[in-house]
Symmetry: C2
């Protein structure tokens, strides 16, 4: 097993580095330890009581078996694999693919070990028509994986009905059923019913695991396994991190430190949490985190039912790209952000920068150096500049980027989210505010039973020309 690790580094939030106005003093960190330690114990108890079932996913032996069996079949049948899902049914799949497969995976046959992968997490006709126009004559070499616990999510259902009709028309019922794999509720719901009737192959969305915590279940594992990602190593990484994030010693528990420092800064008015990877391949991992953090912690009520309207706003940035877009604001704007850098220590691939023309010696400092050195120097340079202006900075180091460390990272941030939920005293596992928009969509699409709501929406739907310029 790989020994490379993910490490959490927090020196650059301390008062020692950025002063007491914006930094955390030794006394404050001790207070955080006292506050958080019982919550680690509480979370460990919740886990034993079956309240955080995502924590057990890396130990499930059935799921990887089922996934690998289907992946083994599919790999012979298809050149294109299409995930139809949204939110937690898409962001994890995208993150794993970007992190662990080459940039030109879809374009260059020499760089991939599995089928091309497409993840559609929208209902955009411009995007989908482009895809359908291309895929038209390759349908029999294309497998669609519809991922939805209920099958009633409007976006996924709409995509599915479009694909279903196309497959039925072009391949007939027997061909149709072979091209779809449903990842859905094991027993009930709309998609389970459709799958049973049509005879699709199926995998299960585990009970008691919310979408945003489901990447290490069949939801995220099938596309990964099929595209050549070592899912055993991914799960082993998560188990490895489990040892560390279950520790009741606050100072030895990276999830506890991470949650406590985030909570502390939120309460000091730093309500924006910037995840800033310095590695192109980690960019979609921070988009996965963005859902996890926002949907888990953005809550109007605490667990006692009192109005609180809390929740840090997660923001993605990418180094070095966003140095030339956001760093001006990050340094000189309001000191209302906590930065979490992601930094890679060893890159598996690297490039040596070529010689400079003789007449431009001002570029000599680059010549002969590795590109990874430049990237990491830019990270350190940016961090130095932020610290100069008293902006708190965390770093998550990856010894290397591989399935084992990505598994660690996912488990670290999932557990961090649970602990942050306990610190904020909110329910980190529900998403009540998503309902009203869904109902409004039903009303606007003419779903029977929503006529009253449709009336209420009319003033928003109808444009008032007096305010249109």
């Amino acid at each position: 097993m790989n020994n490379s690790k993910v490490h959490f580094y927090y020196k650059n939030v301390t008062a020692e580095v950025i002063g007491t106005e914006h930094g955390i003093t030794a006394e404050q960190i001790d207070e955080l330890a006292q506050k958080t330690t019982p919550l680690i114990e509480k979370l460990n108890e919740h886990r034993k009581a079956g309240k955080t079932r995502y924590r057990d996913l890396p130990y499930n032996e059935q799921y990887p078996k089922q996934v690998c069996e289907i992946a083994g079949q599919v790999t012979k049948e298809c050149e294109n694999f299409v995930v139809l899902g949204i939110g937690g049914s898409a962001l994890g799949n995208i993150a794993l693919q970007t992190a662990l497969n080459p940039y030109l995976y879809n374009l260059d046959p020499a760089q991939r070990k599995g089928p091309r992968l497409f993840v559609f997490d929208n209902v955009d006709a411009m995007q989908l028509t482009s895809f359908l126009s291309w895929i038209g004559d390759k349908l029999d070499k294309t497998i669609f994986n519809v991922v939805s616990k209920s099958g009633r999510t409007a976006e996924t259902a709409a995509q599915f009905l479009i694909i279903r009709q196309m497959l039925l028309e072009k391949l007939g019922p027997t061909g149709y059923k072979k091209q779809i794999i449903a990842t859905t509720d094991p027993k009930e719901g709309t998609m389970r019913k459709i799958a049973s009737e049509a005879g699709f192959r199926t995998l299960e969305v585990p009970d008691g695991v919310g979408g945003r915590f489901s990447v290490l279940s069949p939801v995220g594992l099938l596309s990964a396994a099929l595209c050549g990602i070592d899912i055993e190593s991914l799960l082993a990484g998560a188990r490895d991190m489990d040892q560390r994030v279950s520790r009741t010693d606050f100072f030895a528990n990276p999830a506890a430190l991470n949650a406590a420092i985030n909570w502390h800064y939120y309460n000091r008015g730093k309500r924006i949490s910037v995840m800033f990877p310095y590695a192109w391949r980690l960019k979609d991992l921070s988009d996965w985190y963005r859902q996890l953090w926002a949907e888990s912690l953005g809550k109007s009520k605490n667990i006692k039912g009192q109005d609180v309207f809390i929740g840090p706003t997660p923001v993605n940035a990418l180094g070095t790209t966003d140095q030339h877009s956001q760093v001006q604001l990050y340094r000189e704007g309001p000191n209302d952000k906590l930065f979490t850098f992601l930094q890679v220590r060893d890159f598996d691939n690297d490039i040596v920068i070529g010689a400079a023309p003789e007449s431009t010696p001002e570029l000599n400092y680059l010549a002969g150096k590795h590109m990874s050195r430049l990237l990491n120097s830019e990270k350190t340079g940016t961090e130095y500049a932020l610290l100069h202006d008293k902006r708190p900075c965390l770093t998550v180091f990856f010894d290397q980027v591989n399935a084992f460390t990505i598994g660690q990272f996912i488990y670290l941030f999932e557990t961090t989210t649970s602990l942050a939920g306990l610190l904020f005293e909110i329910n980190a596992y529900d998403q009540p505010a998503v309902e009203l928009g869904k109902e409004a969509t039903f009303a606007l699409m003419g779903q029977p039973g929503y006529e009253e709501l449709a009336e209420k929406i009319k003033p928003v739907q109808q444009i008032d020309g007096g305010y249109l310029v």
Copy 2:
């Protein structure tokens, strides 16, 4: 000429819709008109005095000619066009391509009128090695467009030196010079010198136009023209919007209303500005805006030199995708955000959703409807839900998405940024905070003359194991 327009809609920020605690009253909007009207006049004067030269780009007759001449040559020579640039030298190019060309442009030869387009705005070895491995045997059919005013931006210089060495080795000096086009300062600087000596074709980065305001110059126009985008129509759209954003009547000027409403909400504690397009193709336009807004308005000093540390934080979201990621936070979290939706009225392509299986009539409401109706219903549904919780919402409507409306949008937001700069009383055109990070990078890369700074950075560079978990 196309008649389709971009419209600015602001009813859903008014107190009439969301109440006085979070909405804007008629009295407040009149105050904003009084405050802003003289600033529109001031900006018009600045323009006449040559202080906002980006405003004149759509009227420049030389640039499109020069761009089309080179595009005409290149289109016969190449199958792959690669932009090497970062920040303002990349984000506009990406935004135009995503907005105006098909989703699978690079993958499907049937869907493109020009070469494949790649924009590298990073120094990530994992990303670049994947590309170089693929491009290796296609170099003579690949043109590289290095975009840098000075030629000294570390990222672009590093990319250039790598490509230069590869081209020299594989094609020799004569082949090399044909494969590079430099968009750079017309007279001086590192890249101008290299281009003159090597004999590259060149285009100019206009004087007095900052990178983030340069998309309508050769910086953004060459890749667009080459990939089949109608740049004449793009520029005509910008000129069309110029008529509207120059109006001194506040209520008839969409840039003035937009700037004033944003400024007003910032002062009321809504410091996060979410741009929320409901169209996949507009997603990178909001990334372009993110630089424009953050780098222009994030400033520690006002024009009098006083400490202010201001600047709204721009955040990108994408509908419907981020309904399943961010809307829980947007509705229930702190009411600290102003939302700007982008909505398309007529989609050029659309898809009819197929029939539902007989046993699942709960999906019938989707069957036979257009996907664009679902997308726009989701937008209205989300807006309705946000308004229910008193969150202010603006919308920019696109009658259609085409080069003409994209030109309007770009010019609208550029002028909005200038007016916001006047309202915030800061210099919207500089970016002083980017310097220190650049210098720190020089120091870390061993550039002579930065030894003292290198010493200062050491504590940041060296990891203190006591804080590493």
